[in-house]
C-alpha cells in the first residue's frame, strides 16, 4: 500500500526548491514512492487573474486545466526534493503532458491535490518519470494531469520503448506570437516555477541554451487560450514539448478540427518545425 504524506500547507519554495533544483550526481533514476497530498487548496483569484493575463486567457469563474497544474506544481517540487529522489527538477526535461478536466472547476472551489511519481522507465536518452497529479472536490476527481519528465543520462530498468512520433507536416500558420524577453519572469511570477533556466541567461547557458527558454506550460496554456471557447467544456489535452522556445522569440501557431476536438501546433516562425504539439479531445 502506498504511503501518503499529507501537507498542512502549500510546501514552501525554500529548501525543498533548492534541493529540487540541485542536479543529481546519481546515475540510476529513483523517485519517491509516496503520495504527496494537500487538502483544501484555496484558489487565489488575483493570481488567477495575473495568470490569465500572462497566458492570454479570459478571467472567469471556471478555471483552465493548466491553472490546476500550476496549483499542483509545488507538490511536484516537493516530491522531487525528497531525499530518496535522484531525479531532480533541474536537468529533467518536461517532454510531454496529459491532463483531463473531468468537469468545469470553479475558482471558488477548494481543491484537494495529490501527486505521486511512477516508476522510472527506460528511454534511449535517459529515464522517463511520470508525475501524476489529481485534484478532487469532495471526493470527486475533477482534474488529473500527468507530466512526463526525461532525466537525461540516467538509467532505469527495462528496454527503451520508442513511441512512434506522429509525422509533422508543415502547413500554413494561423498565428504568430511574439514572446518578449520578460515573459519568463512574468510566467515565473504566476506559476511559481523558479527554474532559472527560464529567466537567467547564465543558467540557460549552463544547460546548453543560448538564451532563457519559456516554460513549456506557458506555451501549453497560451495554445489553449488561442482555442478558448472552441474547447469543449470538459476535455482531455495532450501536449508534446518538441523543442524549447528561446526568449525573446517568435513562434507560429496553427490549429485544425479533429474528431470532437482540436489538433494544434506551436511551431518555428516559418512553420517548419514544431515546438509544441497539442491534441484536445472531449
Amino acid at each position: 500500500m502506498t504511503a501518503v504524506v499529507t501537507l498542512d500547507s502549500p510546501p514552501g519554495m525554500g529548501r525543498s526548491v533548492a534541493r529540487a533544483l540541485l542536479p543529481s550526481r546519481a546515475s540510476v533514476a529513483r523517485v519517491p514512492e509516496h503520495v504527496v497530498r494537500l487538502a483544501g487548496v484555496i484558489q487565489d483569484r488575483a493570481r488567477l487573474a495575473d495568470y490569465s493575463r500572462v497566458t492570454g486567457l479570459t478571467l472567469r469563474d471556471t478555471v483552465p486545466p493548466t491553472w490546476i497544474h500550476v496549483l499542483a506544481f509545488p507538490l511536484h517540487v516537493h516530491l522531487l526534493s525528497d531525499a530518496h529522489a535522484t531525479v531532480r527538477l533541474v536537468g529533467a526535461v518536461h517532454v510531454s503532458n496529459t491532463m483531463r478536466l473531468q468537469r468545469p472547476v470553479s475558482a471558488d472551489e477548494a481543491l484537494d491535490l495529490a501527486v505521486h511519481a511512477t516508476t522510472p522507465r527506460a528511454h534511449r536518452r535517459g529515464a522517463l518519470v511520470d508525475l501524476v497529479a489529481r485534484a478532487e472536490v469532495g471526493g470527486d476527481v475533477v482534474w488529473q494531469g500527468t507530466s512526463t519528465y526525461l532525466a537525461t543520462g540516467m538509467r532505469a530498468e527495462g528496454t527503451p520503448q520508442d513511441a512512434p512520433h506522429e509525422p509533422f507536416e508543415p502547413r500554413a500558420l494561423q498565428g504568430r506570437w511574439r514572446l518578449s524577453s520578460t515573459l519568463g519572469r512574468d510566467y515565473r511570477r504566476v506559476s511559481g516555477d523558479p527554474n532559472p533556466i527560464h529567466t537567467s541567461r547564465v543558467a540557460a547557458k549552463a544547460f546548453g541554451f543560448a538564451r532563457p527558454i519559456i516554460h513549456g506550460m506557458w506555451t501549453h496554456a497560451r495554445a489553449l487560450a488561442a482555442l478558448e471557447q472552441r474547447l469543449p467544456s470538459t476535455y482531455g489535452v495532450e501536449v508534446d514539448f518538441a523543442k524549447p522556445i528561446l526568449l525573446p522569440g517568435t513562434v507560429g501557431f496553427r490549429a485544425a478540427d479533429a474528431p470532437g476536438g482540436w489538433d494544434a501546433d506551436v511551431t518555428t516562425p516559418d512553420g517548419a518545425k514544431p515546438h509544441l504539439r497539442m491534441r484536445v479531445r472531449p
Binding site: M1, R37, T62, S106, V137, D140
Partner: protein
C-alpha cells in the same frame, strides 16, 4: 486536514484500517456500460417477461448453474456479469429454494460491478403468497449486503399486466453502470399503453427539462447527464449562484433562469421562461437547503425555511405548471421528480426540519402519482444517501468517513449516480414507473 485524517491516510493508519475491515472501497463501473461477463437468466415458473425484456435490450443470455445439493457446490467457470431471476412465478415458501439454488453459485461467480436482479410480483394473493413476496425483499436486501466488488442487487416488482416494453428502461438501467450506487432497493413497474420497444441512448432528445438548484453539485450533474441524454435544460438557481449557473447552462447548451424558488411567482416565471421552448417535459425539483440543529435548538425560522424551500415551494410550482391553462406548463406524458433523502426516510439526528421536508417529498410523489396517471405524467423521487459534494466535503473527517462507509458499497456516491437515476425516471420508456421513491444510497445502513 485534521490529525486524525492524516493518521488515517498515512501508511500505518491504512494498515490498521485494513485490519479493522476498512478496505479500499471497490471501484464502481458507471455510465451506459453493460456488466463485464455473461448475463445469466434464471426463470422460476412459466413467465417469459425477463427473457423478452432482455431480448428488447439486445442482450444474449446464458443458462444458470443450479446448486442441486452436490458438494462442493457447482460454480461458474468464468465470472458472470449479471444474474436476472424471473421470480414472478414464486408464490410458495417451497419455491424459494429454487431461488437459493440459482443465487448461491451466482453470488460466488459474480464479476466486479455485477448485478443480481430479481423480478417479482407485488404482495397480493393468499397469506402465504403475500408472505413470500416480503420474503423476496429480505433476500434481495441480504444478497446486496453479501455481494462484493461493487456488485449490486435489485428487486423489481412487476404487475401481471407488465410487458417487456414497460420494463425495458428499468432493466436496462439496473443492469448498466448508471445504477452503480443503487443497491438493495426494490421498486415497482406497472403497465401502460404502447410500451417502448427498445432502449434509447438519447431518450430525452429535444425535450425541455427544468432542473432547480442546477448551479453546482448534484444539480449541475443532473443538468449535464440529462443534456447528455439529449434534453434541453432550463437551469434554475438562486440569483446569487448566477455565475456558476450561467456556466452550466452554456456548457449544456441550455438556458439559465435566476430565480428564488420560494418566490410567490416562481412557477409563473418558470412557465414564462419555458413557454419559448413550447412547454416543459419534466421538472427535477433538486433545489434544497439544510439548516441543521438538534430539535431543542430549532427555532421557527430554521423550521420554516427548510420546509418552504424543500417541500412547499415545489408544491406551489407544481400547481402552476400542472394547470392546463398555464402556457409553458408541464405537458401531458411529462415527468416530475423530487429529491427525497435517506435522512427523510430513516430520520437523522439534528435534521428534524430536513427529514420532515424530505419525507414530505416521498409522501408527495406517492400522493400525486395516481392523480396524474390519467395525464400520463409520472411522479417519482430519488432519495440520495451519502453523496460526495462540496457540501459533504465540509463535514468533519471522521463523521464523513463513517457516513461514506456505512453502506454496502463502502463509499460515498457521486452526484452523477443521482443524475443517472433521474435520467432513467425521465426516459419516455419509463412511463410505467410512477409513485416510486428510489434510494441512491449504496444500501445505506440507516433506514429501510
Amino acid at each position: 486536514m485534521s490529525a486524525l485524517e492524516k493518521a488515517f491516510t498515512s501508511k500505518p493508519g491504512k494498515a490498521i484500517a485494513a485490519k479493522a475491515g476498512l478496505k479500499e472501497p471497490p471501484r464502481l463501473a458507471r455510465g451506459r456500460t453493460w456488466p463485464e461477463g455473461a448475463i445469466v437468466l434464471a426463470e422460476i415458473g412459466e413467465s417469459t417477461l425477463a427473457r423478452e425484456t432482455l431480448a428488447l435490450l439486445g442482450r444474449s443470455v446464458e443458462s444458470p448453474i443450479v446448486d442441486d445439493g452436490q458438494e462442493p457446490a457447482p460454480g461458474y467457470g468464468s465470472r458472470i456479469g449479471a444474474l436476472v431471476v424471473d421470480a414472478t412465478g414464486v408464490t410458495t415458501i417451497d419455491q424459494l429454494e429454487q431461488l437459493r439454488a440459482v443465487l448461491r453459485p451466482a453470488v460466488r461467480g459474480l464479476a466486479k460491478s455485477g448485478r443480481i436482479v430479481t423480478l417479482a410480483r407485488p404482495a397480493e394473493g393468499d397469506w402465504e403468497q403475500r408472505s413470500v413476496a416480503r420474503a423476496l425483499d429480505g433476500i434481495n436486501r441480504t444478497v446486496a449486503k453479501e455481494l462484493r466488488g461493487g456488485a449490486t442487487a435489485t428487486l423489481v416488482r412487476v404487475t401481471p399486466d407488465t410487458v417487456a416494453g414497460d420494463l425495458v428502461s428499468t432493466l436496462g438501467f439496473v443492469l448498466q453502470g448508471r445504477s452503480a450506487f443503487v443497491d438493495g432497493q426494490a421498486w415497482s413497474v406497472g403497465h401502460t399503453d404502447s410500451p417502448a420497444t427498445a432502449l434509447d441512448d438519447r431518450p430525452l432528445d429535444g425535450k425541455v427539462v427544468v432542473v432547480t438548484g442546477a448551479a453546482r453539485g448534484i444539480g449541475a450533474a443532473i443538468a449535464r447527464t440529462l443534456a447528455r441524454d439529449g434534453a434541453h435544460i432550463i437551469a434554475v438557481d438562486i440569483p446569487a449562484a448566477g455565475e456558476s449557473l450561467a456556466a452550466v447552462a452554456n456548457e449544456v447548451g441550455g438556458s439559465a433562469l435566476q430565480l428564488d424558488i420560494t418566490a410567490a411567482d416562481a412557477g409563473r416565471r418558470i412557465a414564462e421562461h419555458a413557454a419559448r421552448a413550447g412547454g416543459i417535459y419534466a421538472v427535477v425539483h433538486n433545489a434544497g437547503i439544510t439548516r441543521d440543529k438538534m430539535l431543542v435548538n430549532t427555532d421557527a425560522a430554521r423550521w420554516a425555511s427548510v420546509l418552504d424551500v424543500n417541500l412547499a415551494a415545489q408544491i406551489r410550482i407544481n400547481d402552476i405548471l400542472l394547470d392546463p391553462a398555464t402556457d409553458g406548463g408541464l405537458v401531458d406524458g411529462g415527468r416530475l421528480v423530487g429529491i427525497a433523502s435517506t435522512s427523510g426516510l430513516a430520520g437523522n439526528k439534528g435534521q428534524t426540519n430536513y427529514a420532515a421536508s424530505k419525507a414530505g417529498v416521498a409522501g408527495l410523489v406517492e400522493a400525486m402519482a395516481p392523480d396524474l396517471a390519467e395525464r400520463l405524467i409520472t411522479v417519482n423521487a430519488v432519495a440520495p444517501g451519502f453523496i460526495e459534494t462540496e457540501m459533504t466535503g465540509r463535514i468533519p473527517f471522521v463523521q464523513r468517513e463513517i457516513f461514506r462507509r456505512s453502506n454496502s458499497l463502502s463509499q460515498g456516491g457521486r452526484p452523477v449516480d443521482v443524475a443517472e437515476t433521474i435520467g432513467y425516471l425521465l426516459d419516455p420508456a419509463s412511463k410505467a414507473v410512477t409513485g416510486q421513491v428510489i434510494r441512491v444510497c449504496g444500501q445505506n445502513l440507516v433506514g429501510a
